[in-house]
Symmetry: C2
Subunit: 359 residues, 2 copies
DNA sequence: TTTAAAAATGTGTTCGAACACATTTTAATA
DNA sequence: TATTAAAATGTGTTCGAACACATTTTTAAA
């Protein structure tokens, strides 16, 4: 048994030939059927044959051709995606784009997609669309589990129907060891804190502002405060405040009052994508603030480029959704393992590197 | 001709069926051979048949199955990689890792790889290894073209032998419209400048330090200076200085002299991965500096975490190399287009988000 | 030793696209 | 109308893995 090893450069995989089941059969002196039985340990193989085949397999380090395998198992996989309607909240536009991109990429491979948009302000709509999706029994349901309680219900439903679940954007810890793609919010709070810290070495006051926020963001605040507690050298007073921007003129008054009451504030951490609203409201108040916010909305990008916002933290909604789909598709098509927990890097965006993240 | 369109959710690709050439043949009332001739415009098809087939193709928006196509064209593709020996310069360790990862991923698909390490201090060794590689006529040569003149020579050689070329890490503009993966150095200088600007709102002095640097980095310096020229509000004096760290005690003296001569310097931009050497040399000199450097070397990461370095710019050598290989492999296997110019984002790293980039 | 059941091995088809080759149809010429 | 080249169309095989099914060999019971 002479296996040609040929190498010119430096190579861990020097074999130039592509071994197939037929080759293995020949090398072991059996038929491809027998090799197949060994490969899938379906039994009905004599000790002797089994041994000889395993020897060959080891020697040539056989890996089945994923392309041939995929063609044989040619099946139309159904990947359904459940996410908030981008028309209801523009935050979800990039996520939708990411999905579109992945769909375009994997449609020719015979993967079929179906999108279900729910109203992010309506829990019932979430459940309704989820059930709609499950009725058509997809192979997997990829969802942004915005509503905690309802998501658990959907999760149970999926388990009953033996539909796989994958998550993006929000993590729900009860779904343990389910595929999740997103960011660590606690750590992103720490990143925000470190940025403000570098801009404000003096002992100035820092404000944490929640604008139209519903709670979720506690993790970010915890991370933010933790950073300063860990780093005892720089003790800044921190003031947390929640604002409602549904009515813009009321919001503006509220902002004015707040900053009048706290003249020492020199940096602001806005815990979601609404930093642009704050700056708009502050326009007439001539105050020099360092601002760290979230998300690359058009308005935020403009303000970043104008120097009104110092840093934005990029949550990469597009990439989250894209990777969510890609991981699943490649799993079905080529048997790649689905990463259990995929925490995406927390990207720090300034006026100078924003071009690379715009899309 | 009735094609079933079935939709539950919101779907741009609603067709649940997987159309094959056979299906098209049936729908158009011809044989698969004729369909094949139309698909590849090989002629020998009557007007009538051509028309009917095209009608069907349009109606079902036919995309050939890339898996089947790839299996048929089953060929062992050879991708050779030419890069500096990581043993000679640790900068190249991550690049090598990225290649290893991609190799592992695509070996089962029947893509064969060969790596050629050259000595990054020896132009002759670069040429030698390049020629070695080309003698085995790979399908493509992916290289880090560290030596400009020699790279052009290799490029010509490749063209003669009809071997594709792809680049990573360095861009050489004569290779226009060749696949390149890397970063825009000019813009990365601007990013560094914006970071220092945010940390130093006062009119302090900034130093740009080249440590063991050979020239390349002019682009970064240009970008850096341009940022401050554009933003006329903050005029900082900028001092540029080159240092040699081959002999560490001489280097230390040099550093001391420099900072004594310029007591007003409060921020430093180190144009390559050698920021750790500067800080080591500065240890005894108790001076509070804001430092921006490059690359996630172990030493740099430690200093970042200790707060000695404020920001690192990540050039992502691992990802560069990985993507370089992946793009080529997917091109050969599934006919994906090779992106002509892939400028990777310029990532800003702090103590708090470094964990995500470590690997 | 014959026979039946069990165990082991081998053969053939499928997946979808690509292409070589075989066959039929059409048009042009005698 | 018969003949023949050209044009059009159809058939069959290949890629590699997977699995159903057919055949052979071995073992145990009659």
């Amino acid at each position: 048994m002479n296996i040609c090893v040929h190498s010119i450069g430096i190579n861990e995989f020097p074999v130039d030939k592509k071994y197939t089941i037929k080759d293995i059969a020949q090398l072991a002196g059996v038929s491809k059927g027998t090799v197949d039985r060994v490969l899938h340990s379906r039994g009905k193989v004599s000790e002797k044959a089994n041994e000889r085949i395993n020897e060959v397999l080891k020697e040539i380090d056989y890996r089945p051709n994923p392309i041939a395998r995929s063609l044989k198992n040619s099946k139309v996989y159904k990947i359904f995606v459940l996410l908030p309607d981008p028309k209801e909240d523009p935050y979800w536009i990039p996520a939708n784009e990411g999905i579109k991109e992945a769909v375009k990429e994997f449609n020719p491979f015979g993967v079929r997609f179906e999108k279900f948009f729910y109203n992010p302000k309506d829990r019932a709509s979430f459940l309704e669309k989820a059930n709609m999706a499950l009725q058509a029994t997809p192979d997997v349901l990829l969802m942004a589990p915005v509503f905690h309680k309802e998501s658990l219900e959907v999760f149970e439903n999926c388990q009953n129907k033996k539909v796989l679940v994958a998550l993006f954007n929000n993590y729900i810890d009860v779904f343990n060891n389910k595929n999740f793609i997103g960011q660590d919010l606690h750590q992103s709070g720490r990143v925000a804190a470190s940025l403000i810290d570098k801009m404000q070495p003096q002992k100035c006051t820092i404000a944490i502002l929640h604008i139209n926020e519903e709670a979720h963001m506690r993790q970010k605040v915890n991370g933010f405060k933790e950073y300063f507690e860990d780093k005892k050298s720089s003790l800044h007073p921190i003031i947390t405040y929640s604002l409602n921007a549904e009515n813009l003129s009321l919001f503006k008054n509220d902002v004015f009052d707040f900053f009048e009451k706290h003249p020492k504030i020199s940096s602001v951490f806005v815990t979601n994508s609404k930093a642009h609203l704050l700056i708009e409201a502050l326009k007439d108040l001539n105050r020099d603030l360092s601002i760290v916010g979230y998300d690359l909305l058009k308005e935020n990008i403009t303000l970043l480029e104008n120097g009104k916002i110092d840093f934005l933290i990029h949550q990469k909604p597009k990439r989250q959704a894209y990777l969510g789909v890609v991981n699943l598709a490649e799993h079905f098509l080529f048997g790649k393992p689905i990463p259990a927990q995929n925490l995406l890097p927390i990207d720090v965006i300034t006026s100078e590197n924003v071009i690379y993240y715009k899309d």
